[in-house]
């Protein structure tokens, strides 16, 4: 089936509990089944019912790196949704709603309207509102001209409970579809929207990619205290508990979680925890402990807007400097900052390798946007995953956990394997691991622990760079990769000499290697989801290269394509 290039953005909005998440997911699932490239953005309030939530689905003929603001189809479950999103509509946009429930002054609404009388379209959905979702799925599927049978098969998979329920759902779907065909809505943007079948791709969100990464790395112990937006890593891991022989335990608090990780890791298994800023705050003492004990630990830090409780269901990149310096005393650590789902997966496997090879805490830094970002991506390959457990020995009787070595890394042993004893101590300690107040030993141990930073810098994941010319460099880290890549590509197509650079590791920074890279450009721009330009400050501090321009966003939402487009346009004139 030949297909033209297309790019459609749909927004389904209403109150929490009204089920527009079900519609969205059903539709997304169907579209995905059909092989579309889709990507979704969910905007939720921190409540279970009510409020204004929405679910955005973008589908396109090429892989999608970010979300757009401009809405082509608006499906409103309540009146509020109509008004809230007027600013995102264009003249051709189509707003769909049940005119029996929503009565509005048409003149005030932008774009075109497709009103539906539910009692006529599918009376069953008036009796039981639960069937509203599937009607709208029909409407949208009809609009997009999706193959009928395939959507029905998804519906079949979803509602395989009681025979009656499934039938009513299929009927509702067909009714919605029929309605839209009868209505003969035409929209150039919505025709010829046909997928090319994508082989071997996955549909998941960032947290699932991280959990799969942990499993692929051989993680055997995952413990966390629930915290949005990190909880779904815990839930995904819990799903595989018995199957994958991984202990998944909900800790009494975050302090316990990281101390448990260290205990499990000490005993010889790969272990991980995940949380958001508030929970990470509570882990800080144990981060310092990991530094002192030199025990591998992997921590997923899914950021949300702070300080304190902040906006629990929104996104921000506000904890970077905190994470870089978290924990009293001086010790080495690594911060990885994946920008794609594939990086979520592979960087998590790397995190375990780095942790094991250097015996340091490694953070995988994401944010709510990436955590919840649900999209289609190429399949992750187990063949590309290595598991490097670092230097290990079967301990002789004189085994010394902190034996001084050339690179500050002392071979580990698994307690119980061999004659040696593994002794680790949070006090300053001897090579054997016992507490000491010998200040000459102290000096040696400080050097040993800090020496690892050199090794880590040598192994730094250099940033991804795309573009030519030495004029403007637009930099970002973590979840902003997609939007920066797309917006900069847009300018590149317009012939601008602009390059983008994505940092998938933000600490430690090999200043010597980065300096020439940055100095090569005339204008440096940093794009971040925080209010003070944290990575710009860190990068500037480390390299000494001034980063003059910062594009910042800190209202809890990710950059949409248009946001960055507008901001960059001003800089690129």
């Amino acid at each position: 089936m030949a297909s033209e290039a297309f790019d459609v953005n749909m927004l389904i909005g209403g109150q929490a509990g009204q089920g527009m998440q079900t519609s969205g997911q059903l539709l997304a699932k169907s579209l995905l089944k059909l092989g579309f490239y889709i990507s979704t953005l969910q905007s939720f309030h921190s409540r279970i019912r009510g409020g204004h939530n929405y679910y955005q689905i973008r589908l396109a003929s090429t892989p999608i790196n970010c979300m757009t603001r401009s809405v082509d189809v608006l499906l409103a479950f309540d009146e509020n949704t109509l008004w809230e999103h007027q600013g995102e509509l264009h003249a051709d946009s189509l707003s769909i709603f049940n005119s029996e429930k929503i009565k509005v002054d048409h003149g005030k609404l932008k774009g075109r309207l497709l009103e539906l009388s539910m009692s006529q379209v599918y009376p069953e959905a008036v009796t039981d509102e639960i069937f509203t979702n599937v009607v709208y799925v029909g409407v949208l599927a009809g609009l997009l001209n999706c193959p009928e049978a395939e959507v029905e098969s998804v519906i079949g998979e979803t509602f395989n409970k009681g025979a009656g329920v499934l039938e009513k759902n299929v009927a509702g779907y067909r009714a919605g579809r029929k309605f839209v065909q009868d209505a003969k809505v035409s929209n150039p943007r919505l025709t010829n929207v046909h997928p090319e079948k994508q082989e071997r791709s996955l549909v998941l969100h960032g947290n699932e990619a991280i959990a799969l990464g942990a499993l692929a790395a051989g993680c055997r112990f995952y413990t966390a205290y629930p915290m949005t937006p990190a909880s779904t890593i815990l839930e995904t891991m819990a799903h595989y508990m018995s199957q994958a022989q991984v202990v998944v335990e909900q800790a009494e608090d975050e302090i316990a979680a990281l101390n448990m990780v260290l205990g499990a890791s000490f005993a010889g298994v790969r272990a991980m925890t995940g949380t958001s800023g508030g929970g990470f705050s509570l882990m800080v003492e144990a981060v310092s402990l990991a530094g002192m004990l030199e025990i591998p630990a992997v921590i997923a830090l899914a950021m949300r807007p702070g300080p304190a409780t902040g906006l629990p269901t929104r996104t921000e990149q506000g904890d970077l400097e905190f994470a870089i310096h978290a924990g009293h005393g001086e010790f080495a650590r690594v911060l990885l900052s994946p920008g794609t789902h594939a990086e979520c997966f592979y960087q998590t496997t790397h995190a375990f390798n780095l942790a094991d090879r250097y015996h340091v805490p490694v953070l995988v830094l994401t944010d709510q946007y990436l955590s919840d970002w649900y999209t289609r991506v190429p399949e992750f390959k187990m063949e590309q995953v290595t598991r490097d457990y670092g230097p290990m020995v079967e301990g002789k009787a004189d085994y010394a956990r902190y034996a001084l070595t050339d690179n500050g890394v002392s071979p580990r042993m698994v307690p119980g394997r061999g004659e040696g004893l593994v002794v680790v101590d949070s006090d300053e300690h001897t090579q054997g691991g016992h507490l000491t107040e010998d200040l000459a030993v102290r000096e040696k141990m400080v050097k040993k622990r800090l020496q690892k930073i050199e090794g880590l810098k040598r192994e730094y994941f250099m940033p991804e760079v795309m573009g030519t010319g030495q004029d403007t460099l637009v930099m970002c880290w973590g979840s902003n990769r997609g939007v920066v890549a797309d917006v900069v590509a847009h300018f590149q197509q317009l012939g601008k000499a602009v390059t983008w650079m994505h940092f998938k590791q933000v600490w430690p920074l090999p200043e010597e290697r980065l300096r020439p890279l940055l100095s090569a450009y005339r204008h440096l721009v940093m794009v971040e989801n925080n209010a003070t330009g944290q990575f710009a400050r860190v990068l500037q501090g480390e390299t000494g290269v001034t980063i003059a321009q910062r594009i910042l966003k800190y209202d809890g939402k990710p950059f949409l394509f248009e946001d960055l487009l507008t901001a960059l346009e001003k800089l690129l004139v």
Binding site: V203, V261, F266, A267, L293, M382, L421, V423, D427
Partner: protein, 283 residues
């Protein structure tokens, strides 16, 4: 094998400190159970009590003040073939670490915990601990303690802790028995050890305890499987202080319930890439 097999580094406790008796009993119990140093993992937090693992031989994880239990439980789950013991003071386990103590009782992982209760903060030089008596004056509680003392035994029993015993650092033989019983009991075994601190606790001295303690097992009347009578025993304090197994039950240990451990210790599980590939393809 004899006690020498467990001899660790030189102690830094004050002469006369009750911790010596506890150390002695721990070694004796392990000896009698024929545990090799390679077969035991010793966890502790920070404090005088928490130094104990350094004075032993075994795998040692001397972590943060108050945080021995999370690490100990996790290590046990990572390798449940090894014997896990945890040690800490009253400040460590009941103050800073109170939440972990509470939830470790619920979790019921098969480890044994000794709380060296000297009813004072020893290492930081004599502030009140959660178990310091009402009215006791210290440099911080300058007008005397006004917070009600914790009753840790009652706390543990009230939550159906699998094994609850009390020992005394001055009754080494009895304490040895308690430790052995605690290790043998599946699930979370908690032993509260009354321990004189010669430097900072001048009330609950060795002699003070000697005058008051008695063994609950002696008259055969105490039924440690009875919840309410165990709680009654836990309340007994003053002229007579009961030693022995105060409470126990046969709740199954976490280790035996956890699906991920069905095939043996985690640490021995072989990585199966094809399994993960299968998970991945499911998305």
């Amino acid at each position: 094998m004899d006690q020498q097999a467990y001899k660790g580094m030189e102690t830094a406790w004050c002469p006369g400190c009750g911790n010596f008796g506890i150390l002695n009993a721990v070694k004796q119990a392990l000896l009698e159970l024929e545990k090799k140093p390679q077969e035991i993992m010793l966890f502790s937090g920070i404090g005088q009590a928490a130094k104990l693992p350094h004075y032993m031989r075994g795998h040692v994880f001397n972590g943060l003040h108050g945080r021995a239990l999370p690490a100990a439980q996790a290590a046990k789950l990572a390798n449940h073939r090894l014997t896990v013991l945890a040690f800490g003071g009253d400040g460590d386990m009941y103050g800073e670490g109170g939440n972990h103590f509470l939830h470790a009782i619920r979790r019921n992982v098969d480890i044994t915990v000794l709380v060296h209760d000297n009813r004072i903060y020893g290492l930081t030089k004599g502030q009140a601990s959660p178990t310091t008596d009402l009215g006791v004056k210290t440099k911080v509680q300058t007008e005397g303690v006004i917070n009600g003392p914790l009753n840790p035994l009652a706390l543990a029993i009230s939550q159906h802790c699998a094994f609850v015993a009390r020992g005394f650092s001055g009754s080494i033989e009895h304490l040895t028995t308690m430790i052995k019983a605690g290790i043998a009991h599946p699930g979370f075994s908690y032993i509260e050890v009354m321990q004189p601190c010669v430097s900072f606790n001048h009330i609950n001295t060795h002699a003070w305890y000697k005058e008051r303690i008695y063994d609950v097992a002696q008259d055969g009347k105490h039924d440690p499987t009875n919840y309410l009578s165990a709680l009654e025993k836990a309340e007994e304090w003053g002229s007579r202080i009961p030693l022995g197994v105060i409470y126990r039950n046969d709740r199954p240990a976490y280790d035996s319930l956890c699906g991920a451990l069905k095939n043996g210790p985690l640490v021995d599980q072989v990585f199966r890439p094809e399994l993960i590939a299968q998970f991945i393809r499911h998305y």
